[in-house]
């Protein structure tokens, strides 16, 4: 038991690696939150002084977080503001926005400004002028582990919620078809119910596999593309908004940060300024 706890401690809290993954997630998250909320938070939507102040603070902190200026402070500020917005706006309270709120909070716990940020650019400029080598893009990524746990739990609990006959029989999938694609007589299509049942069972199986399998490198290379296909289908077939892109972005939490770093390095290999 102690060894298991030690292993979990090392896995969760002693994960020092490249900050490029968290840098990418940081930028992606802000863009997703803006696409979800920004149109409802622009200043003309609430002209009370408190509303203007709060909405301005939202754009200021998330904007700073996106470009990566004073990132430690701006990302914590953004996490607090996003939580406030989520709680005061009834219309924001969806599961997909809750995921964004949680993940912004977790990313604020990492040194996400050490890569792809103005902070990084300023640090490079300082080191250049003082003749020192570039500062490292390395930090403790325990927040990235929390993101991985969060993504797993999204899969696990959504899978758990579907464990009843109404769903597994395919009936609930049929209802979704009738709800969103009404206009045809689906009942008359031979095998339609069986097809819906297969879709339902496949979805639940995949959700449970993704909940645990993404941690295992051997399974990850198969599960990740399968998960992306699943999310893209959700995106194309249902009004699911930012959820698909958020989940695909958060898959970065399962890929070793050093691999992401090397992958990006390799992409830039051989590039010379004209």
């Amino acid at each position: 038991m102690l060894r298991l706890l030690q292993h979990f401690y090392n896995w969760g809290l002693c994960y020092r690696d490249s900050t490029r993954s968290v840098g990418l997630i940081r930028i992606g998250l802000v863009l997703l939150i803006w696409s979800e909320w920004a149109s409802k938070l622009i200043l003309c939507r609430d002209v009370r002084p408190s509303g203007i102040l709060l909405n301005s603070a939202f754009f200021l902190f998330t904007g700073l977080m996106c470009i990566g200026l004073w990132t430690r402070v701006s990302s914590i500020g953004a996490a607090i503001l996003v939580s406030i917005m989520f709680n005061i706006h009834q219309s924001f309270r969806h599961h997909h926005t809750f995921l964004l709120v949680m993940v912004v909070f977790f990313i604020a716990l990492t040194p996400c400004g050490r890569s792809y940020s103005l902070d990084r650019w300023l640090a490079l400029r300082r080191s250049l002028s003082s003749g020192l080598p570039s500062p490292p893009e390395i930090g403790n990524l325990w927040g990235l582990r929390l993101i991985a746990i969060q993504v797993s739990m999204v899969y696990f609990w959504t899978g758990y919620e579907k464990l009843y006959w109404g769903f597994l029989s395919g009936a609930r999938i049929e209802l979704l078809v009738y709800n969103y694609y009404a206009g045809y007589d689906y009942a008359s299509i031979p095998g339609f119910s069986i097809f819906c049942s297969v879709v339902a069972i496949t979805t639940v199986t995949l959700e449970f596999l993704l909940a645990f399998g993404l941690y295992i490198p051997r399974f990850r290379k198969y599960l990740m593309p399968a998960g992306i296909v699943l999310h893209v289908l959700f995106y194309l077939l249902l009004p699911i908004r930012t959820f698909t892109l958020a989940m695909i972005l958060l898959y970065l939490a399962f890929i070793p940060a050093s691999s992401v770093h090397r992958f990006i390095d390799n992409m830039h290999k051989g590039y010379e300024l004209a």
């Binding site: 599961h95 746990i149 739990m153 919620e161 029989s169 009738y178 709800n179």
Partner: protein, 151 residues
């Protein structure tokens, strides 16, 4: 080891040393609490069926499709012959297929009867217009009407 790499490893080592025990303890406590919240938070709402703004469930589309109806309208002729009616054709299929899904679907008992009345106006008062309908529930389809006469 190149100077750049040496510098990076030295800086990383210095950072590790610089982390005080208090920071590490705080991190352990925060990580444990947040992990417990993320893992077991939904347990309260999804397994124990509690209601809370603090502990949120991961339920997706669990109410979508409930009350949606699958209907079949038909005319029963005096000679016993059944003539099926495509209600979408009556309501204007081309226009409906291009419209929002809220306009295309039939939701609930009253909507079935509303569409029935619409068809009744089109087919006239003398014919024997009937409907079979089933309605979506959490557990799947439930029969709503069997051979119901539309007044």
């Amino acid at each position: 080891m190149t100077p750049a790499n040496q510098y990076q490893s030295e800086k990383t080592a210095m950072e590790e040393i610089a982390e005080s025990k208090l920071v590490i303890v705080c991190r352990v406590v925060a990580f444990t609490l947040l992990t417990l919240y993320v893992v077991f938070g939904p347990f309260y709402t999804q397994v124990l069926k509690g209601k809370s703004n603090l502990f949120r469930a991961w339920r997706m589309y669990h109410t979508r499709g409930i009350d949606v109806c699958d209907v079949q309208f038909y005319i029963r002729h005096p000679d016993g012959r059944i003539e099926h009616i495509d209600h979408l054709q009556v309501l204007g299929r081309d226009k409906l297929l291009g419209s929002h899904h809220h306009s295309r679907r039939i939701m609930g008992e009253t909507d079935v009867l509303r569409v029935g009345q619409h068809i009744r106006q089109k087919v006239g008062a003398v014919v024997d217009l009937r409907v079979n309908a089933r309605i979506g529930t959490r557990d799947g389809w439930k029969t709503l009407y069997v051979d119901k006469h539309i007044e």
